[in-house]
């Protein structure tokens, strides 16, 4: 079965003080039609870099893709030029970002930015049609008095409303995939819930696939069909959402889940994973989690494990070496 989006062995480096340092190493995953894939991990683990590099949105002067293919809808788009990519971006694969306060252009009206998202891909559409479509999408994402909001500027809207405008803009071309890069992180909890609900609704009506990048396990539990856990530029574990919450296999996944505060249980101290993520300059030779892992062995320090497939999970950990190795070592 072929997947809607399939990424293989993606590695991305950044230029830091005249040296190329790899931030994402050998990342492979897929997204199916109508599916929501949650990508979780700490800040700086490569979640955003992975999605941005797929769309060629990383700065060209300070970043480069070392390896990897991105097969979208049967075509390898990894070698596409800017011009070819601009036909994919916004039309086939859309993206919404964390900070809705700064993600909209402050000197253009909301309407003009929506109309632009239509006209960039469809030059023949009349101004009136484009405007009507834009207003209908504002209504669709639950913005009251859309005609008025259409003429207003982003600074006249609240954070939640701005994120709705972003969502309307992302979905206006009916894309196959929506990449949501921490879409609710900057919003307060009630607005968060509303935005997530809206995304669920829109997904149900349009069958769009969602790549949901977040560090909020609660959001993942609510939204995702499958979860991919990333750490220090590696995929650590991939499994269906229910599976990963019920039976996390990788010590890092276990640590992440244990760190979720439980309001129903009184505990003296909140659980956490000791230590910090290694910097790009000091990546361990072996397993990248070995410096913080409570189950670390000498093998973990010496060599990096491949992804092992076991009980429906793909896990990058020597503890599961009895499973089938699904990719080469790629640390």
């Amino acid at each position: 079965m072929s997947h809607l989006l399939e990424i293989s062995n993606l590695s991305v480096s950044f230029l830091v003080r005249k040296k190329w340092l790899q931030a994402v190493t050998g990342v492979s995953f897929y997204v199916d039609q109508g599916e929501t894939l949650g990508i979780v991990g700490e800040s700086g683990c490569g979640k955003s870099v992975t999605s941005m590099s797929m769309l060629h949105l990383l700065p060209k002067t300070t970043s480069r893709v070392d390896s990897g293919t991105v097969i979208f809808d049967g075509t390898d788009i990894s070698g596409y030029s800017d011009k070819e990519m601009s036909r994919i971006r916004g039309r086939r694969i859309s993206m919404i970002f964390q900070d809705s306060m700064t993600s909209l252009n402050p000197v253009m009206t909301n309407g003009a930015q929506l109309v632009e998202a239509i006209k960039c891909h469809d030059r023949n559409i009349s101004k009136k049609e484009a405007e009507e479509k834009a207003i209908s999408y504002l209504a669709k994402v639950g913005i009251p008095s859309p005609e008025k909001r259409f003429r207003e500027y982003p600074h006249q809207l609240s954070g939640g409303m701005r994120q709705r405008v972003m969502i309307a803009m992302a979905l206006i071309q009916s894309p196959s995939i929506l990449i949501a890069d921490e879409p609710t992180t900057a919003l307060d909890v009630t607005i968060q819930a509303q935005i997530l609900e809206l995304m669920q609704e829109l997904k149900a009506t349009s069958n769009v696939s969602i790549m949901l990048i977040t560090h909020d396990m609660g959001v993942v539990a609510e939204m995702a069909d499958r979860v991919m856990v990333m750490y220090a530029g590696n995929v650590m574990e991939v499994a269906p959402t229910k599976e990963i919450f019920a039976n996390p296999m990788h010590p890092y996944s276990q640590g992440l889940l244990a760190s979720i505060p439980r309001p129903d249980k009184t505990v003296g101290k909140l659980s956490s994973i000791e230590g910090t993520v290694p910097t790009l300059q000091n990546m361990p030779v072996g397993c990248r989690f070995s410096t913080r892992c409570s189950k670390c062995t000498s093998k973990c320090i010496e060599s990096c494990p491949p992804l092992f497939r076991k009980d429906g999970h793909d896990v990058r950990c020597w503890l599961y070496a009895d499973g089938e190795a699904v990719d080469g070592t790629s640390c």
Partner: protein
């Protein structure tokens, strides 16, 4: 929007009053009495001098002199030149055209050259383009205009006689537009050089900063072409600080015009200013200063209006 304009206009009024106070009292404090200039002859009759002093109102207390001067000012009377006896306003009116001509021309030239160069530098930092325009901006900003003027005259008028070194028209007497443009080239260039330098740097820095902004990423992510991202999204947001820089250029342009006009014998306000300072012609000095101050005030008002057109957040703020 209307409210914003009105507020800007109201702020201009106390500024203008402040200018008149400064101009008047600084001239008053300057050493040497105008009477000495009028009567170069040291044997002048004391009675005649006293009469003249009374006639010019110089025997009155200073605040009376000030209010009399301001009163006349609001009636459009800037007084009479001690040197020529002509009304100051007529002398200024005759000279203001040529000055506005080269200052506005050099403002336009600076903007047309500096903004595209600055945008290119910012879009491809550390490229050949960037080094070229950065080099140009350093040289430009570091070259005093009297020096640039002398170099230009030496190279382009003396060595290779392409452009005339002085005046507005040929001495032949026919005043054609082409002749005027031909004479304008060097003074306008000289006046522009420093402005171009600082404007390139401002534009580069400002566009470079805006290109890091999240909404640029959004514009790319929705499939806009690079040219649209750069000119529609980045440049427009980057323009506010550039406009500020242009606003602060206006007084420098006028100041620079004083030197440049002198250098190229350009019959503008600047050369009249130098002439009047040398002959302690206070009414003319004060008149020119007030006119220049008003020009700068109007310039800043226009800048404020451009701001509000560019940035809706200014327009709507209460």
């Amino acid at each position: 929007m209307g409210k914003y304009v009105l507020r800007r206009l109201l702020v201009a009024i106390p500024t203008f009053i402040g200018i008149t106070v400064l101009v008047f009292f600084l001239s008053y404090l300057a050493p040497g009495s105008p009477l000495e200039m009028l009567f170069m002859d040291s044997n002048a009759d004391a009675q005649v001098m006293a009469d003249m002093e009374a006639r010019l109102g110089l025997d009155q207390p200073v605040y009376v002199q000030y209010f009399r001067w301001v009163g006349q000012l609001f009636q459009g009377n800037l007084g009479y030149s001690y040197r020529t006896g002509l009304p100051v306003w007529d002398m200024v009116a005759e000279r203001i055209g040529p000055t506005l001509l080269i200052t506005i021309a050099s403002l336009v030239l600076s903007v047309l050259i500096a903004i595209p160069l600055g945008v290119m530098s910012a879009y491809k930092p550390y490229s050949g383009w960037d080094y070229f325009s950065s080099g140009l901006s350093f040289i430009g900003a570091a070259t005093p205009n009297f020096f640039a003027g002398l170099v230009f005259i030496y190279l382009l008028s003396v060595k290779v006689n392409i452009f005339p070194s002085s005046g507005m028209y040929d001495s032949a007497g026919t005043h054609t537009f082409l002749d005027l443009v031909h004479h304008m080239v060097l003074p306008t260039l000289v006046l522009s050089i420093q402005q171009i330098g600082s404007l390139i740097r401002q534009t580069r820095g400002s566009v470079l900063e805006v290109l890091q902004d999240d909404f640029i990423r959004t514009a790319r992510a929705k499939g806009c072409l690079e040219s649209r991202v750069l000119f529609r999204h980045a440049l427009r947001n980057a323009l506010s600080p550039v406009i500020t820089r242009i606003g602060s250029m206006i007084p420098f342009l006028v100041g620079g015009a004083v030197v440049t006009e002198q250098l190229f014998s350009w019959p503008g306000l600047g050369s009249l200013m130098v002439l009047s300072i040398n002959s302690r012609d206070y009414p003319v000095i004060m008149g020119i200063t007030v006119v220049i101050a008003v020009a700068v005030l109007i310039g800043n008002l226009i800048i404020d209006l451009i701001y509000s057109v560019l940035d809706p957040r200014i327009r709507y703020s209460k």
